[in-house]
Symmetry: C2
Subunit: 394 residues, 2 copies
Amino acid sequence: MIPVPKDFLFAATAAGFKKADKLDLGLVLSKRPALAAGVFTTNKFQAAPVLLCKERLAATRTARMLLANSGQANACTGEEGLVNARVACELAAKACKIDADEVLPASTGVIGNQLKLDKWREAMPELKKSLGVAGPMEFARSIMTTDTFPKLAWASLEVDGHQVRLLGMAKGSGMIAPNMATMLGFVLCDADVEPDSWQEMLKTCADASFNRVTVDGDTSTNDCILALANGASKVRISGREANAALRDALCEMLQALAYMIVQDAEGGTKVARITVSGAKSDADADLAARAVGNSPLVKTALFGQDPNWGRIVCAVGRSGAEFDPDQVTLALGDVVIFEKGRPADGDLDGVLAPLMRKQDIDIRVSLGKGPGRATLLASDLSRDYVTINADYRS
Amino acid sequence: MIPVPKDFLFAATAAGFKKADKLDLGLVLSKRPALAAGVFTTNKFQAAPVLLCKERLAATRTARMLLANSGQANACTGEEGLVNARVACELAAKACKIDADEVLPASTGVIGNQLKLDKWREAMPELKKSLGVAGPMEFARSIMTTDTFPKLAWASLEVDGHQVRLLGMAKGSGMIAPNMATMLGFVLCDADVEPDSWQEMLKTCADASFNRVTVDGDTSTNDCILALANGASKVRISGREANAALRDALCEMLQALAYMIVQDAEGGTKVARITVSGAKSDADADLAARAVGNSPLVKTALFGQDPNWGRIVCAVGRSGAEFDPDQVTLALGDVVIFEKGRPADGDLDGVLAPLMRKQDIDIRVSLGKGPGRATLLASDLSRDYVTINADYRS
């Protein structure tokens, strides 16, 4: 049984945006106005629901509903797409008897198609009927696209002897990259949080979780994480200590979801944890980690369980990070294979073989230059990734 | 019959670096000292032969021999690798009775392994025997790795009624990316060219050809283009007009080779010509073109012959180029599918289907911002790319 923060209700239905009988429309309703925060894609083309959320969060800091659909991204759809997103919010608001301005929408799916509003209208009675019957699992399923499993994580913390609950749900297995890829994330919390803290906390934790994973280096038009804190637990989070405790719990929960996203990468079989240390700066470490994590040659070697470390070193070399090649050391797990610019002695392939068979591969690069550090989770690149994405629309 | 510039001899043999009986060691010998120019990888890890060529070109501007091997990259091999590269040059120089300092070496293959000098030694008698018997086709074959066909192009021009010949040979089908990917290119010319012009011409033409293609966004440790002009035609290139004529012929020849590299991309089935216009600057146009050309989602859609234009627009949106999304127009061939931020009316998939079946796909993005412009040739991403690279070492 998933522990649900107080006073949140879920609904989900099959509206027919995807295959028949697949859940593709869901919502979360807070029984009371909730403090809302959001983090959005950095792509220049921002989907209509992203634009709408940003507009609403700029006007007010509270919301009642998270409304999500899969199958249609409503991105690159121009003014008509924006109008349609508003209509979709109105339909769901009306069904739940709240104001349309209290709805934060999120969409995922094929870019460029307009929302099928007739299907939205037809789906409303069933959606309403499921409210309070469906749970977070159904909601998490309704936002899946090429995901192979629903992604949920939760946390709780005690503040002055009272319990606060956090629940996170996410989707996304392709188009995952630096700075918010096609990824929807939803966070529910029943604490009473200060408005500025909530937004700041979400941003910090998103940077330490969803922004530290990569599947294919593509970032999408629709990414967002929306977070509602409705105060239903009557626990007020104030002061440095309580805020830090909530932030830590939120970070850990989002990191668990981010891991699942890489684990469920399209066609993925590996989760590589790339740690770059000894860089001139954190930014340089990040450059190197992303060059490795996004390199198709590194990713295919991971898929092939081939400890082809030359490709890792090569990716670091072209990353743009500053360092002296003669000071670079590379280890897979605890096995140092390249030290101060030279291959380690001996044939290490035998030692590396069992490490390469695991799901989790630990890649450690030390640049020997400074204190800069970064970690990134990356998927591998398989034939199935190609198959999934070559045939996505058909 | 391939027209060969005067006074160049070729040799090639199977030294056993790769599979038995595969040509993997070759050389070009100029009967007279030739003016030499080179362009090299920007990767921080530079292979031993690259370091050696740079050292030699810094010390002198003439060379007699281009020496190339496949199967072993001699990259990330430390001081020992550098010593081995020198020994390899000495062996070949001795066999051809020239000075070791007159040899420019180039290697391609697996990173991290030391050269097998015993095999080099054993191969010398056969290599020497083939000198003058082998032609450019055999040399071009000897530098192939995952290439499926040898890459040659040639050109000739008349200067004051006399003929000058150019011959280019290249390899490379993976690790092809911005700024010199794993790619070896060799240019021979029998004109008498001014030293500064020759190097400058090579750089200009490399920028307009090999640096305008991408296969997988990875750049290698070993890339180089080496060019020899031996003056054997007795035609002196001097003055603006003659230099421009030679440069144009060289550019066109290198562009033909660059096209072949994309055409022969690992597992590739498509050559996308991405043209970005209307950018704020050429640099911005280049950012956008590379984001599209390196996007795994665009590349898999190309492989799937799917006109999934949303992915192209999305890649442009995250490229970092400056523009107003409402001013962006995208066309596949002559079919405008996204205009001023909105999808074009009608279901265009039917019109696009025959275009997507072709080998050459024309992607035109207009950002509506300024005069900036860039073109890039990109391959698609297929299951075979993954298979080739997952199993490369085994």
